[in-house]
Symmetry: D2
Subunit: 379 residues, 4 copies
């Protein structure tokens, strides 16, 4: 693995590295960690990389890596830069024959992701999109139970992602805040791009429901903030199910309250990211059950496959993240050895999820701009 | 106190009686518990009422009670019938000089509540509207803290009231369900009238924010159900605050999940009805605090006034309900003795809350009928 | 009902009155609320009692009440004084033909309770001992499930009752604290008498297990405190089950953390008093279940009998307390009408529980005095 | 790092490897994963080790590794075998000049750990003892707050570690169970050796209190089980503080309920392993606070040092485990470079903790054998 971005002060860069490290399957072999060569070099040294494989630009990295022997060069490029710096390196890497890992939202604009999809189709390269939360074992259990019919026909989905870290005008002090609230780097949406897309993806991943139309109100509560820091979305799915999605970054004092609830004719499921090893299953009439990671309460083979330790030993965010990397890596390894990847290793978000995420951003921004008008979902 | 309704099989009738009993201030002296005289008589006997004060109609009850000596006759009439049977007895009782206690929603239609308001203004009689949840000590604490400015300017309110008891077509088996889903008895709205109004009232009671406009989607998930069993509402308050309100009766397996969260520039508050003795206060930066009923964590005199037992001894729904009755009764007693009621005893929902509730029902039904159009709030 | 004690400043007096009021079955008709006649009179007035039935001593109350017509005089005397003032009025009342309600621990000493038992056997009068926690619906559910065999043979019981209200030397400022820590009024034990007996009773009520022997360490952490404010007890039951009981009043900041867990060969149960409407059932292998008051998760008829409102409307401490009073009153009413009381109404703690409680106090004090020696349980 | 044990079917071997991997500081370079050469080879292959560094015995591993160039050979040996197979390889590795990582309990007997201590003193090599729970950020926060005096003088400690996985006679089916219940492999104690030592260490790590004496009852509930599967311990610390420690492996259905509560004159702290990112601080009078990993509620530099991701992204068991490995590795790296290790990197359990753990086992077994007699703590 090579890495673009993730130098000093980065939040998500180290997370990607830890996630890649965890299972001993992926080795960081090169990187360009900052647009500042000194910072990039410093990061490379701290990461024990040889100097010649710490690069000063992604172009240099891709050009030089491709010249290395196949068993030496990076297998894929992990891009952890701000949104506006996703597309160009991803496109170049894919064209050069590298697989790519990208953080969400996948690109700056819908056009960019459509272009990536075209390149992927042409080159046959793989892409990992790190919608972390789909890596949690109990999220996989939820998906399995929905598919198995434990909930019956789904009627109502609530998914919310409240945070409080942008409650004040902190862009000056906080590196991540500075670009998250800047439309030239983040894209059309702030809160909805950053965490609304996570909520949207989570609902899709678990339920599989297809959007028909949606309406949304985006708000910007902090003075002079140019992008939304809060929003709510009503979603109409095919066959009548409804989703209420909310996301906010001005819920003062809240950390990371991603929460999803799904109710169908036969039962309901409830899962919170901040206590990720517990899920409640509620039959329509009967006794509510406590589903716990890596215990006999688990029905889903995928949930078992993505757990590492016995029940009662909490698995967290890094483990969920590592599941994405591991499954991606095992898929690449299988294909490198001309084996068929298993359904388990193919279980990671990719370009389709990226396209849907960018469509979501476009749709909620458009709806809000028309005072919460209904916007049809584009296929 | 006299009671209309609340005979065999009633859910809310016994709750009103227990709430009225709790503090030893109110005595049930007469009633008409059912339109079926035998059932009414049976209920009266079980309640140890003298036969002559168990009536066969509200008209009889009001006419006969008014003839009794002032210190013998009921002081107020508590009406616990279905919605379509609120207005006529309430109007007659008020006109006859009795005070009235009513369950929510206050009437079948907005016109009815406006008529009640006119009668009250003319007769000077009092009305208690049992929006129970405003009786909880921690709800009063929340209101106090908002008023004191602990949260700063409010930005975002989330209030939700999920239930699951109408997930199936249970109207045939469940007395309460049968009229709740029947527009001829419930009124224009089902879920939104029954519990949406509670959520709306709770947000108003705590925040005091004034609605500018709202849009809503109401759904009816159970086949052939004529009224909504689910809905979501976006509310715009004056000065830019936003509220997302949701209510549902098809969240399979959920009991009574009323939950409110309020976030302002300086902090947030979170309170759930099913663990009503705990509230979280989150400062925008700093340590979250656990506020607990009847402990030194309480700042509000009203919260103390409405607690009965030391911290750690859970107070519940009946105590909250009893707070409404007690405050109402103490107000009536004060006024009967020509004393000024205190601000504490005047702290119970009344006709203004009833009007707002009916406006809410009208507005959400109208918005939903126009595919989630914005509806201006009428003053 | 007449009341002895419970005047101004009392914690538990008002609780008894609210509990007695709740169901409309019991009326307070007389009282002696304080040894200070002025305070007693004031309390009587606030409680709307006629002056002639507010007495200045328990002797006067008993002597005068007995002279009233049977349908006017109190049916039973509720004694809510400090421990050293339980026995004499209880004995006199029983001898005079009144039933008695007493708070725990039942008396100042084991000898006193044995004397009460003798009087009861002779007079045939009934006694209610207000071990409140046994009144909670889910405690009855737990008892039922143990009896039904859901847990199999019981192996391990943990019961704990931590509080923090005596963490400082607050006896001077707090009326209740002042006598709780005073051996001349409390008896041999402080914490163990006050709340250790509750924990002990709860374990017995649910499991039915018989004690063989126990050892205990009692501690007194606050300087110059004469009685224990903390202690732990190991209990050996017949057939090999073990109980670990702890109680403390110096767990700084803790309110009222009564918690019981019971594990057998086939499953376990866990219940906390501060969230009393939820209990967890854990099968030895399988999915943990959430048992909730007044829902379809309830198996026990007694749990249903002792619930008042549908699931999701929290019932609390007063309701649990009221269950004891209601069941006691219904038993007295049945017997007054020469009917057999039902098993449900007979479900209240009484003299046997009182004797066991005093034996428990004697045993833990004796064990601790001998540096945690084993003490055989006396039958 | 080399590894001894941890082959197919091992629970803890993979945990050690993931923990070592996480931060990219430690590389697995060799191993002897099983006493069965075929299994060892298979594990080595799965772990991508070169064949020549997969050994068939620890003797071979140590002898051959020491012959490799210093920058190639393993720096330390991680031993993850059953207890009876700790001492010999650890002693040989230390004597050969390798550092050692060991799982708890450190050895089969107290004599063995004393011998290891002697070897370490002589060789100057380092030892990591993986008392995992001391690696959690909030455990470090608790330790810091105790040291800072937030709790005042400590009075009462409750520490418990209930599990249910040995509720049945599962030794035949479960590799780990088979040796845990076998005195020839586990040592004198079963439950108390496996998890009692964890609870004991956690209390010591946080409070720093010194034991004066203890008494204990160990139980064996499953028929024919030779070692304890349950036990309770009363501990007397210097200066009067008391600890109640309980551990059980027959709490049917319980996963891994390690829970510690500490109360002093000024406040209390409560932390549970299964929700490890939340800790409650209770001042003796005032508002309880919610302390959360990696947020502004953290006071301890060590807690910050041992957190990897911002608040709200759950860190779990592997991260706690990785903190031990990382700190150990950074200490070794510093010393290899002749730098002084920082107090942060020196923060990992080692031989002293191992000695105390074995003393604990000896003491509880001795006390229980004498029917819960007090046993003085040996220095």
């Amino acid at each position: 693995m090579g890495m673009l971005g993730g130098g000093p002060g980065s939040f998500i860069g180290p997370v990607h590295r830890m996630a890649a490290n965890l299972d001993g399957l992926i080795e960081l072999v090169c990187g360009c960690f900052s647009s500042d060569p000194a910072k990039s070099a410093q990061a490379g040294e701290e990461l024990c990389l040889p100097k010649e494989r710490v690069y000063t630009s992604y172009q240099e990295m891709i050009e030089k890596e491709i010249l290395l022997p196949a068993d030496e060069r990076m297998d894929f490029l992990s891009i952890v830069t701000p949104n506006h710096l996703h597309y160009a390196p991803a496109a170049m890497a894919l064209e050069a024959g590298f697989h790519v890992a990208l953080d969400k939202p996948i690109t700056y604009s819908l056009e960019e992701v459509q272009s990536l999809a075209e390149i992927m189709a042409r080159t046959g390269k793989r892409l990992l999109l790190t919608h972390t939360y789909s890596g949690y074992p109990l999220v996989k259990e939820a998906r399995y139970r929905v598919q198995r019919g434990d909930l019956g026909k789904i009627r109502r989905v609530y998914v919310e992602y409240p945070q409080g870290w942008l409650s004040t005008d902190c862009a000056a002090d906080n590196k991540q805040a500075s670009w998250r609230v800047d439309p030239s780097r983040s894209g059309k949406a702030g809160c909805m791009g950053d965490i609304g897309t996570h909520a949207f993806h989570l609902a899709k991943y678990i339920t599989g429901l297809e959007v028909v139309e949606l309406c949304a109100e985006l708000n910007s509560f902090v003075l002079n903030r140019q992008l939304d820091d809060d929003g709510t979305v009503m979603i109409r799915y095919k066959d009548g199910a409804r989703c209420l999605l909310s996301a906010s970054q001005v819920c003062a004092g809240v950390e990371n309250g991603l929460y999803i609830r799904i109710y169908g004719e036969k039962g309901g499921l409830e899962w919170r990211q901040d206590t990720p090893n517990t899920m409640i299953f509620r039959p329509v009439d009967g006794v509510a059950e406590i589903i716990r990671t890596a215990t006999s309460s688990i029905a889903s083979p995928a949930a078992q496959y993505n757990s590492r330790i016995p029940g009662g030993h909490p698995e967290g965010y890094i483990e969920a993240f590592a599941n994405l990397y591991r499954n991606f890596a095992l898929t690449l390894m299988a294909e490198a050895e001309l084996r068929e990847p298993s359904e388990f290793t193919l279980d990671f978000p990719s370009i389709e999820d990226g396209i849907e995420g960018m469509q979501f951003i476009d749709a909620v921004v458009a709806s809000s701009a028309q005072n919460v008008a209904w916007v049809k979902w584009q296929k």
